[in-house]
Symmetry: C2
Subunit: 400 residues, 2 copies
C-alpha cells in the first residue's frame, strides 16, 4: 500500500481554491456556476483516481471504488458560504481523493448544500440515507433570494437526475476531516483534534408583527414597534440563557431583519433566526422550554405579536469509539502529544451519516479560529499532518 501523497493533496486543495476565488477565500454558493464548476472538477479528479464518478439529482458528487471491500466512505461538502473560506468542506472531500489515490478502498462523497443556502438542513447527506422527500425539495427555497430549490436544480442541469442512496452494508465506517472553526487547538498549541461527538443545532424563527408607521407623526405611546419588541426579546435571551445552558452550549442570532428597514419608519415587522447547539438532548430541551417562556413573557409585555416556530431540530451524534481509537493511535504515532479529543460545535454531514454507520471526524486547526469568512486559513503543514493521520487511521481501522 503506497503512502498518502501529501503534495498531490495540497495541490488539489489549491486547484479547488482557484474555482470561485474571493480574495483569499472562495464564493461558491450551492448550485451557482462556480459551485457546479467545482463539482465537475471533483468528478474529473475522482475518475483520475480510478473511482466511478457521478452526480445525482440533489447535486451529490459520488466516487465509487470499483474493487472489493470492506470500504470506507470519506467526504464532506464542496460548496461554500457566501464570500467564505477555501477549506470548510473542501478539505474533507479532497482528503477522500487523497486516500483513494493512495489505493485505499474508499468511496468519496461531496454532500450537497451542507452550508444551508436552501431552507433544508443537510439535504445532501439526508438524501444519501433516504431521509429527504420530494415534497421537502418542492418546498425549499434559497434563504437569501427566495429562489425555489427546484428552479435552482433545473438551472444547474440537475433536474430529473435520480438521487443516489448509500448501500449501507458496503461500509465499515465514515471519516470526515474538517477545519476546527474555533481556537481550542490553536490556544492549546495542538495540531489535531479527534472529535468525540457533534452537537445538534436547534434552529428557530421568531417573527414580530407590529404596525409600520411614520417615525415622527406617531407618538411613543401610540407605537407598535416590531424592532423594539425584537430587541427586548433578544436582550431577555441574553440575560436568561446563561442560567440554562451547559458547559459547551452556544446560542446565536445570525439573522435579524426589519421591515421596511428605513430610517424614518417605525418597523412593522422583524424576523429573527435564532439557534442553540449542544451535545446533550436534556440541555437542548431545557433551552427550548426557556426560549418558549421568554417568548410567552414577551407576548404578555409587548404590544407586538411574537411568533416562535421551529426551523430544524437535529439529533446530537456521538463518534464511533473504534474509529476514534484509530485516529488517536495514528495521531500519537505521527505527532506524539500534539492532539486532543474534543466535541464539534458545528454541525456536519457526519452527524447524518452516523445514523447509518460508524462515523468519526478529524479536526485540524483554524488560524485565529476564523471560518465562514474569506480569511479562513490553516497552515499547509497542519493540512499535511492531517491527511497523514487520516490515512494512518483509515489503514488501522480497515485492518482492525
Amino acid at each position: 500500500m503506497p503512502a498518502v501523497d501529501t503534495e498531490a493533496f495540497l495541490r488539489d486543495l489549491y486547484e479547488l481554491r482557484a474555482i470561485g476565488t474571493f480574495k483569499t477565500g472562495v464564493h461558491r454558493p450551492t448550485y451557482s456556476p462556480q459551485d457546479m464548476e467545482a463539482r465537475r472538477w471533483l468528478m474529473a479528479k475522482l475518475t483520475a483516481c480510478g473511482l466511478e464518478a457521478s452526480i445525482d439529482g440533489i447535486g451529490n458528487v459520488y466516487g465509487r471504488h470499483p474493487g472489493p471491500g470492506p470500504h470506507l466512505l470519506v467526504g464532506s461538502h464542496i460548496e461554500s458560504q457566501n464570500e467564505a473560506g477555501w477549506l470548510d468542506g473542501a478539505l474533507g472531500v479532497v482528503a477522500g481523493i487523497a486516500l483513494a489515490r493512495a489505493g485505499l478502498p474508499v468511496d468519496v462523497c461531496a454532500f450537497a448544500d451542507e452550508e444551508g443556502h436552501f431552507s433544508l438542513s443537510l439535504p445532501g447527506s439526508r438524501s444519501m440515507i433516504g431521509d429527504l422527500t420530494e415534497e421537502a425539495i418542492d418546498g425549499a427555497r434559497n434563504r437569501t433570494d427566495g429562489t425555489p430549490l427546484r428552479e435552482a436544480l433545473r438551472a444547474a442541469g440537475l433536474e430529473g437526475l435520480p438521487r443516489r442512496q448509500l448501500e449501507i452494508g458496503r461500509y465499515k465506517g465514515y471519516y470526515e476531516m474538517h477545519i476546527e472553526q474555533g481556537t481550542q487547538l490553536e490556544e492549546a498549541g495542538l495540531r489535531l483534534g479527534v472529535v468525540t461527538g457533534i452537537v445538534a443545532i436547534w434552529q428557530w424563527r421568531i417573527v414580530v408583527e407590529g404596525q409600520q408607521d411614520h417615525a415622527g407623526g406617531t407618538t411613543m405611546a401610540e407605537r407598535k414597534d416590531a424592532g423594539l419588541s425584537a430587541v427586548r426579546l433578544l436582550a431577555a435571551i441574553d440575560a436568561e440563557f446563561p442560567r440554562l445552558v451547559g458547559e459547551r452550549t452556544t446560542w446565536t442570532t445570525g439573522r435579524f431583519r426589519l421591515e421596511p428597514d428605513a430610517p424614518n419608519i417605525i418597523p412593522g415587522r422583524a424576523e429573527i433566526l435564532f439557534q442553540f447547539r449542544d451535545v446533550s438532548v436534556a440541555v437542548l430541551e431545557r433551552l427550548e422550554a426557556g426560549l418558549k417562556s421568554l417568548v410567552q413573557e414577551a407576548n404578555r409585555r409587548e404590544r407586538c405579536k411574537i411568533t416562535l416556530s421551529s426551523v430544524s431540530k437535529a439529533v446530537p451524534a456521538l463518534c464511533d469509539p473504534a474509529m476514534m481509537q484509530a485516529l488517536s493511535d495514528a495521531a500519537e504515532a505521527i505527532a506524539p502529544g500534539a492532539w486532543q479529543t474534543m466535541p464539534s460545535g458545528a454541525g456536519h454531514d457526519a452527524q447524518v451519516i452516523a445514523r447509518t454507520m460508524p462515523a468519526s471526524m478529524l479536526f485540524v486547526p483554524s488560524i485565529g479560529g476564523i471560518s465562514h469568512h474569506w480569511s479562513e486559513d490553516t497552515k499547509d503543514e497542519d493540512l499535511a499532518l492531517g491527511i497523514q493521520v487520516l490515512h494512518g487511521a483509515a489503514e488501522r481501522f480497515l485492518a482492525g
Copy 2:
C-alpha cells in the same frame, strides 16, 4: 377672486395617484421613471394653471406666477417612500396647483427627495435656499442600493441643468398642507391641525464591529458578536432614554442590519440608523449627550468596537404667528370647533423654507394614523375641507 375648485383638486390628486400605483398607494422613489413621470405631469398641470413651469438640476419642479405680488410660495414634495402612500407630499403640491388655479398669486414648488432616498437631508428645499453644495451632491448615494446621486440625476436626464434658488424678497410666506401622519386629530374627533412648529430630526449611524465567525465552532467566551453588542446598546437606549426625553420626543431605530446576516454565522458587523426628534434644542442636546454616554459605556463593556456618527442635525422650526392666525381664522370660519393647534412630529421642507421667510403648515387627518405605507389614506371630505381652509387662509394672509 374665484373660490377654490375642490373637485378639480381631488381630480388632480387621483390623477397623480395613478402614476406609480402600488396597491392603494404609490411607489415613486426619487428619480425613478415613475417619479420623473409625476414631475412631468406636474409641469403640465402648472402650465395649464398659467404658471411658468420648469425643473432644475436637483429635480425641483417650480411653477412661477407671472403676475404682480406679493406672492405666496406653496408646495411640498412629489416622490414617495417605497411602496408608500398617495398623499404624503403629493397633497401639498396639488394644493399649490389648486390655489394657482383659483387665481391667487402663488408660486408652486415640489422639492426633490424630501423622503430621503439619497444620503442628504431635504436636498430639494436646501438647494432652493442655497444650502446645498455641489460637493454634497457629489458624495451622496442612494440609501437602499448605493447608487451615486450624480448617476441617478444623469439617468433621470437632470445632469447639467442649473439649480434654481428662491428670490427671497418675492414672498410674503410659505404654506404647506400635509397629512398628519399620526392619530391625534382622529382621536380628538377633529378635522384640521394648525401646525405650531416642526420638530428637528437628529439622525445617527451606529456601527458595531466584531468578528465574523462560525456559530458552532466558536465558543461563547471567544466571540465578538456585533449583533449582540448592538442589541445590548439598543436595550440600554430603551431603558435610559425615557429619563431624558421631553413630552413629545420620539426616538426610533428604523434600520438594523447584520453582516453577513446568515443563520450559522456570528455577525461580524451591525449597522443601526437611529434618530430622535423634538421641538426643543435643549432636549435634543440632552439626548445627544445621553446617547454618547451610552455608546461610551457600551465600548467599555462590550468586546466589539462601537462607533457613533452624526448623519444629520436639523434645527427645529417655529411657524409664523400671522400665517397660523390666518389658518385658524379660516378653519374657524369654515369648520367651527373642528380644528386645533399642534406640533409636527415629522420633518418637512417647511422647516428649511422657514429659515428664509415666514412659513406655516396645515394638517388634515390620517386614517388610523398610517403613513409611509401603501394603506395611508384621508377621507375625501377632509381633503376638500383642507383645501378650502388653505385657500381662505391664503386670501386672509395676502390681504393682511
